[in-house]
């Protein structure tokens, strides 16, 4: 019953996607007339996607194990939150979520398309084409509504790693809102190529979707890193794993696009580059989906067994060939005419930023796909070590931070050295003092010192800029500071994001350079002293919960005289799965985190072995990440208010 409803709704969405592509292109050929014919397909797409997702959720919530997806990813004991989240815990369901998000974006885009809007209808048609692929996949290779001939009494439950933390319920939808959102600027870029539109209208229009997608993508990556830190227990948040790179790659190019879009809007430059960046970003989201969903990463051999892998690979090739082919033949139509006045200008720094981000993305891309290409051709199975990525990422990031420091205060067109010096003198002094203080405090690593100095430069240059802009206003200083954001939300939202990036950079440098790992073995009642901490093993614990059992060690953590609390690193056992998953315990401190991961509790003895990690300034990493996200959100929300106010001012209210 539910299965038929699900399949019918997916079929409705697929038919609507086809209709959207056909009517969209037909309206495009007619110069954007007849846009009302698009309303029905858009509504059909959204309705089909919502009902499909709803059917899957109902099947999960009602323990309908006649569906293979439910039987494989759900048990009767699974708590409500993870039952809901099970809808995107595996391949088929995550494609349904993808389709739902895509339909939501299509609906949102449709609301902005009026009569005679050639570019808008073509963009909707492109979104329809993308929809055909994903809803088509839901009916074929990744069908979540396949039924079982023999209905089991209970399901086997999702991968325990996905049931272990609340973040797993939030991370995928956030990431998808980011990933799928990149379809909108892509669709508009393709539309402007098709229409030969050399104006910046498509950029103005897609600004909000691009910012939405970018902000959610940032949040998704942040939550993913947080999850791997809290759940995986190997003591880290980033390992240059292909799955992580898959989300980082489109983030890099999308970040480049967010910046170069400013240049195009302000100065009319880099139009063709922007189109190429957007096509690249979309292709990278498909590549990321291929990497994470086809099983090519976990084992290259499963890729021929699953039809999803080849389908996604084919779609990726189609996007690359069609997108860049169109770009090669029609790119000159959208190319901008203005030339750069001088490299020493805001545009010049934006260009530097874009080249660096593109280079960064390229290096990560090579490191990510090289092992797969090598295996495809030679059969050798290899992995690229994290040090290789680090060696490339550190210098590129440092130059990026440097550009971040002076970029936002560099004037457009032509930056005279005098002005730059005037704006940088104060921040540079602050930077020198801060770097000296950290060096005196005992930090000797050149990389850490440089990162700290550059982060100080970024933040102090922004603070100085805010201070002087506010002081030059006729109103009182306090009111002027308060009104800064409203005067230019795009810029000041960006500055908030920059402050966040500076904080993240400090946290990465410190946690990466001054972390430590020790393995200790303790008997009950025994204590170990490590780096000024005392760890006392007060005993094992065993806790049986509804859907899982935990076995672990209770460790009392103290530093000097002060108790820092009790930590319980554990192994979590889910009833239907043989293997337990480690559950680390973290004490977060102002200076550093103490991170305990259970290695072994020996049977029949009172002995326990734990890994003790220290990671400095981890709270700053999460805080900085959230600041970046809020910067993106601020840029997004500010714009409309500014417009309406500007209109009000223009009409003399």
């Amino acid at each position: 019953m539910i299965a038929s409803l699900g399949i019918a709704s997916v079929a409705l969405a697929l038919a609507s996607a086809i209709a959207l592509a056909v009517t969209g292109f037909r309206a495009f050929i007619r110069g954007g007339e007849g846009t009302t014919s698009l309303r029905l397909p858009v509504w059909g797409l959204l309705a089909g996607a919502i009902v499909a997702m709803g059917a899957l959720e109902i099947a999960l919530l009602t323990d309908d194990f006649s569906l293979r997806y439910v039987a494989e990813n759900h048990t009767r004991d699974t708590p409500l939150l993870f039952t809901i989240a099970a809808a995107w815990a595996a391949l088929e369901g995550s494609i349904v979520l993808w389709g739902l998000v895509l339909a939501g974006y299509a609906f949102w885009v449709h609301r902005s398309v009026g009569e005679g809007d050639r570019i808008g209808v073509a963009a909707l048609a492109v979104i329809g084409l993308v929809g055909i692929f994903f809803f088509g996949m839901m009916l074929t290779a990744a069908n979540p509504f396949v039924t079982l001939a023999v209905v089991p009494a209970d399901g086997s439950g999702a991968n325990p790693l996905l049931q272990n933390h609340i973040l797993m319920a939030i991370h995928p939808p956030m990431l998808y809102l980011g990933y799928v959102g990149m379809t909108v600027p892509f669709a508009f870029a393709i539309a402007s190529l098709l229409g030969g539109d050399s104006t910046t209208v498509w950029l103005e229009r897609t600004r909000r979707w691009t910012l939405t997608a970018w902000t959610f993508l940032t949040l998704g990556i942040l939550l993913g890193a947080w999850w791997s830190y809290e759940v995986l227990g190997w003591g880290g948040y980033w390992a240059w794993d292909p799955v992580e790179n898959a989300s980082f790659l489109p983030w890099l190019t999308a970040t480049a696009f967010v910046h170069s879009a400013v240049v195009q809007r302000r100065r009319g430059m880099l139009q063709a580059w922007n189109v190429a960046l957007v096509i690249g970003t979309f292709a990278l989201t498909i590549l990321g989906t291929f990497l994470t969903r086809s099983g090519v990463v976990a084992s290259v051999h499963s890729f021929t067994q699953s039809a999803v892998g080849p389908a996604l690979l084919g779609f990726l090739l189609l996007v690359l060939v069609a997108g860049f082919g169109l770009f090669a033949f029609r790119g000159h139509l959208v190319a901008s005419t203005p030339r750069l006045d001088s490299l020493a200008s805001r545009e010049g720094v934006f260009l530097l930023n874009n080249l660096l981000l593109a280079l960064f993305a390229f290096v990560v891309l090579i490191g990510t796909i090289y092992p797969m290409i090598l295996e495809a051709f030679t059969g050798d199975r290899v992995s690229v070590g994290a040090p290789w990525f680090d060696r490339a990422a550190v210098p590129i990031s440092l130059v990026l931070l440097f550009a971040l420091g002076f970029g936002p205060i560099t004037p457009y067109r032509q930056a005279r050295p005098g002005i730059l010096w005037e704006r940088l003198r104060g921040p540079l002094q602050a930077t020198a003092v801060a770097a000296a203080l950290v060096a005196v405090a005992g930090v000797r690593s050149i990389t850490v010192l440089t990162t700290f100095a550059l982060a100080t430069l970024i933040i102090s240059a922004i603070v100085r800029q805010a201070h002087f802009t506010a002081r030059s206003r006729p109103t009182s200083y306090v009111r002027a500071v308060g009104g800064l954001y409203r005067s230019d939300p795009g810029y000041w939202g960006g500055m908030v994001a920059h402050v966040g990036v500076a904080l993240v950079a400090i946290a990465i440098a410190f946690s990466g350079s001054f972390d430590s790992r020790d393995t200790v073995t303790l008997e009950v009642g025994e204590s170990a002293r490590l780096h000024g901490y005392t760890l006392t093993y007060s005993g094992p614990f065993f806790s049986e919960q509804d859907h899982r059992t935990l076995i672990g060690a209770t460790i009392v953590l103290t530093r000097g005289e002060s108790g820092l609390g009790t930590l319980q690193p554990a192994l979590t056992q889910y009833p239907n799965q043989v293997q337990a998953v480690p559950t680390p315990a973290v004490h977060t401190g102002l200076r550093e985190d103490v991170y305990l991961s259970l290695v072994r509790i020996e049977e029949g003895t009172a002995r326990v072995t734990i890994d003790v990690f220290r990671f400095p300034l981890m709270w700053l990493l999460w805080l900085g990440g959230l600041v970046v996200v809020s910067g993106g959100a601020l840029s997004f929300f500010g714009r409309r208010r500014l417009r309406s106010e500007a209109t009000l001012e223009a009409v003399g209210v």
């Binding site: 992995s383 690229v384 059992t549 480690p582 509790i601």
Partner: protein, 137 residues
């Protein structure tokens, strides 16, 4: 139009150089993955330096010795003796899939890094392969 083609060709050339440089650089940082049957009769594996070796722990072969643990792993065809330094993880047990990293001298694989493969093995409904209660008294 012409400027465009020129630009694309130049960018393509630059990318090719960059790829060459990166891949050249990559080769020293690759960690190869092998299975027992690939190395037992391959003299090159002895001089290959560090690589990863994957297989299943042969039941009855686990011998703890001080801060070391010795065991055999197999891919179903060949068997290799592993000497691993360090306390193995809780999940380590007979029959489980592991990946060890280290060097091979022709008779013993000396490892200092062990990754336990997350298996997809489920417990049957009428009785567990093991239960936490049996295991942790």
């Amino acid at each position: 139009m012409k400027r465009y083609r020129l630009f694309l060709i130049a960018a393509g050339g630059l990318l090719a150089v960059l790829i060459g440089f990166l891949v050249f650089n990559l080769r020293d940082n690759l960690v190869y993955y092998r299975v027992p049957s690939e190395i037992v009769n391959d003299p090159d594996a002895i001089t290959a330096g560090r690589f990863r070796l994957g297989g299943q722990v042969v039941p009855g072969t686990i011998v703890p010795a001080g801060d070391e643990v010795r065991f055999e792993i197999t891919d179903g065809t060949a068997v290799v003796l592993v000497a691993h330094t360090g306390v193995p993880q809780q999940l380590f047990r007979e029959g489980i899939g592991v990946v060890v990293e280290g060097t091979w001298d022709g008779t013993t694989f000396t490892s200092d890094n062990m990754i336990i493969k997350h298996d997809e093995q489920y417990r049957t409904e009428d009785g567990g392969i093991y239960t936490p209660d049996d295991r942790y008294p």
